[in-house]
Every structure is written in C-alpha cells, then in structure tokens.
C-alpha cells in the first residue's frame, strides 16, 4: 500500500506540474512507473494469493455458505468441521484439504480456483440457491487420499493396526476407496450427500458428544 501511495504521489505530481523531462525527472518517473509499482504489484499478489487460501474467502460465495457455516459450528462433528477446529488447519482449512500437492500443486490449485470463479459468474453457480448448490455442485474429480496423507502418513503403528486400513491399502493408494466415505471416516461435508444413510450418519454424528481425539483419528 505504501509503495502504491508513493508511486501515485510521484505520478500525480508529474501530471499536475508537467516538469521538463530532464534526467532527474526521468529518474523520479522510473521510481513512480517502475520500482514502486513493481513492489506494489508483488505485495498485492502475495496478499491476494494469501487471501485466497483463507476459509472466509471460500465462504464468500453464497453457494459455499453451508460448508462455511458447518466449519464454524462448534458442535458439528463432520470431518471438515473437526479439521477446521484443528489449529494446524484453522482459518485455512478449505485450502489445506483441497489443495493439490506436488511440484505444480499450488499453480494447479489456483487454476482450479479460476474455474470456480468462471462457474460462479458465468456458469450459473451465482444464480443457484443454497439448496440447489448443495444438490448440484460436486468436486470435479474424486477427492485424492494423498491430501489426507499429507498429515496422516499411514505409516505409524496406530494406522496400520486397524484391519480395514491394511485390507484396503491398495484401494486407498489408488483412490478407489476414499478415506472420507461412509463407513470409514465419514463424509467431509455430509449435508451435501443425499442418501438416507448419509443423512442418518450425519445426524448421529451431530448427537455424539465432541471428543478431543478419537482413536481412529490418532493415526498420524
């Protein structure tokens, strides 16, 4: 902001005073047109990119209202809400769980975000009601278990001693079975699932008293 203000001051001064273009003025203009705007561009890019990783940013589109509200609900036992209460996820929980990882992960995640913006403004998402959005909006590809395994390494004894983990190891690695599925750790956003079993599971989870750590969550 300071760099932008200094650049604007230099440029407006030039436009108002219209001094002759001598060496000193050229240097000032280099600062006002090149150096300070470059600093402003870099800092605004960093600030903007950082802002796009915050949960509040994801919740700013009304179609994500239910997801956002669920993460803020201290009584919710959904996978997303429980992770959002974890300080390591905290205000960035959407990004931490949905970001692609790997060499080009950051760029690919941001490219995916551009698709969301396109769909919201020109693809009909913007006109959807929240109820319609819960029914119609889905992940573009199956959720990658690699994202869970960024934290839950699946190599510790606590994880391996669970028979289901061992028997489904191949399926989990190939994404044929999702960690966040009914019967395993539950849906991350169960209110978007419309089967009777999903609704029942969600209601049951909501009634459960919150426990700080469940045995099946201690698998890091």
């Amino acid at each position: 902001m300071a760099a932008a203000a200094i650049a604007a001051a230099i440029l407006i001064t030039y436009l108002v005073r219209k001094p002759p273009l001598d060496f000193r003025v050229k240097l000032w203009l280099l600062m006002g047109l090149g150096i300070f705007p470059a600093v402003a561009a870099a800092s605004s890019t960093v600030t903007g990119m950082q802002a796009t990783t915050e949960r509040e940013f994801c919740g700013s589109c009304h179609v994500m209202g239910a997801h956002y509200a669920d993460t803020l609900d201290p009584k919710s036992q959904s996978l997303a809400a429980r992770h959002s209460r974890n300080p390591y996820f905290g205000d960035h929980s959407c990004y931490v769980c949905h970001a692609d990882y790997g060499m080009y992960g950051y760029a690919m995640t941001k490219a995916g975000g551009l698709r969301h913006v396109y769909y919201y403004h020109w693809g009909g998402y913007g006109e959807m009601t929240l109820e319609e959005a819960k029914q119609k909006i889905h992940l573009v590809k199956p959720y990658d278990n690699v994202n869970c395994r960024q934290c839950h390494t699946t190599t510790l004894h606590d994880w391996r001693r669970v028979p289901d983990h061992e028997s489904l190891k191949t399926e989990l690695e190939s994404n044929r079975v999702s960690c966040a599925s009914a019967g395993c750790h539950g849906y991350a956003h169960p209110f978007t699932k419309h089967g009777a079993s999903a609704a029942k599971a969600h209601a049951e989870r909501a009634r459960e008293p919150p426990s700080p750590v469940r045995s099946k969550d201690r698998d890091r």
Binding site: M1, A4, A7, A8, L11, I12, Y14, L15, K18, P20, L21, K26, L29, L30, G32, L33, G34, P37, A40, A41, S43, S44, T45, T47, G48, M49, A51, T52, F57, S60, C61, G113, L114, H116, V117, Y120, H121
Partner: protein, 79 residues
C-alpha cells in the same frame, strides 16, 4: 497503421502522460484487491492491473528511447 506505429508517432511527453495515467489505473486495481480481496478483484489485479502496469512501463521505456534518440521535441503547446 498499426497500434505500435501510432504509439511511436506520439510525442515523448504524451507517451509519459499516458504511462502515468495507465500506471495509476493499474495501481488502483492492485490497491482495490488488497482492500477488498474477493475473487474478482484479486483476479483483475493480477491480470488487468499487471497488464496495464506493464503497458505503462513499456510506454515509459519507449518515451525514454525516443527521447534519447534525439527525437524532435513536441510543439510548444505540449510544454
């Protein structure tokens, strides 16, 4: 006549003034994206804002090159 040729026809002060105005517009996009970091402001700042800023620098460099090559000064009304 191409856009580039038309830009070259301009006098040095005109190019500098255009660069200043373009840079101010680009800065406005960037500042707005910081003050209101929504999806569109951030995208506009990083595309349109940076593009306009780049164009402003290009105009400035062209003006400096034209000035250094001893381009005749603009008519008196420009000063």
């Amino acid at each position: 006549m191409s856009l580039f040729s038309r830009v070259l026809q301009r006098s040095v002060p005109e190019l500098i003034r255009a660069a200043c105005v373009l840079a101010l517009v680009g800065l406005a996009f960037m500042v707005y994206s910081v003050l209101s970091p929504g999806a569109l402001p951030v995208i506009l700042a990083m595309s349109v804002g940076h593009g306009i800023g780049g164009l402003a620098v290009t105009f400035y460099i062209m003006a400096v090159i034209l000035d250094a090559r001893g381009r005749p000064p603009p008519d008196a009304s420009e000063k």
